[in-house]
Subunit: 133 residues, 2 copies
């Protein structure tokens, strides 16, 4: 089943709460994760909530990485949505596990955008990042 | 099974391509979707790719909404990640279906952040947006 995109949905438990509450640390970690996945960073936005938590997203040429953190529970919700064959989302995932000291991680992988639903012949299909080059 | 967050992962097929290629239209639609879900908009970032496609995210107090569009295939990948009981993510989803003229929509709902994995007594748990107030 060919698809346009690939998404890793990851729940990080038992993380180091001090990393999850630091908006600069979270931002740097997400940008580094994007680079490790071979993504091209386009834009980003991160926000520090009071009293706890960081939310943010990195838009990459190949889709996005997003995170929401609950430092007080040692929990972070991470999404890594990518397109294209040269991208290595697992590298981003592994880097983030280390960066936040996740003691337990639950992941699910999904294909996004089934090509056979689009009425486009497979040989005519272009996926990002080719699309974005 | 109590959880901190709720995520709708939606694939929109057979959309109106002209809406999907217009970064201003996509931005406005995503912001309006956030409002219809009763979310509090915190920040946003959207990008128009050349020659086709828009990617972007709206960070809300209750998590995020994200989109990636492939106008040439009439396809958009939409994520609606929310927390809290007063939020109505289905309202956002229904609004976006209309806004992009989606002919067919495939959705999946997920719970994010299982409370029983966090070692926190249920009565002590606080979910956004309470957390962010």
């Amino acid at each position: 089943m060919r698809s346009l995109g690939h998404q890793i949905v990851a729940d990080f438990y038992h993380c180091d709460g001090s990393t999850l509450s630091d908006v600069d640390y979270v931002t740097d970690a997400m940008l580094e994760a994007a680079r490790r996945a071979n993504c091209t960073i386009v834009t980003q936005t991160f926000h520090h909530f009071s009293p706890y938590g960081v939310s943010g997203a990195v838009i990459v040429a190949e889709s996005h990485l997003a995170i929401h953190t609950w430092p007080e529970y040692g929990y972070a919700a991470v999404d890594i949505f990518t397109c294209g064959d040269i991208i290595q989302p697992e590298e981003a995932l592994n880097y983030l596990k280390e960066a936040f000291g996740a003691g337990q991680v639950s992941t699910m992988e999904m294909k996004r955008g089934q090509v056979d639903m689009m009425g486009v012949p497979a040989h005519e299909l272009r996926v990002k990042p080719v699309l974005c080059a």
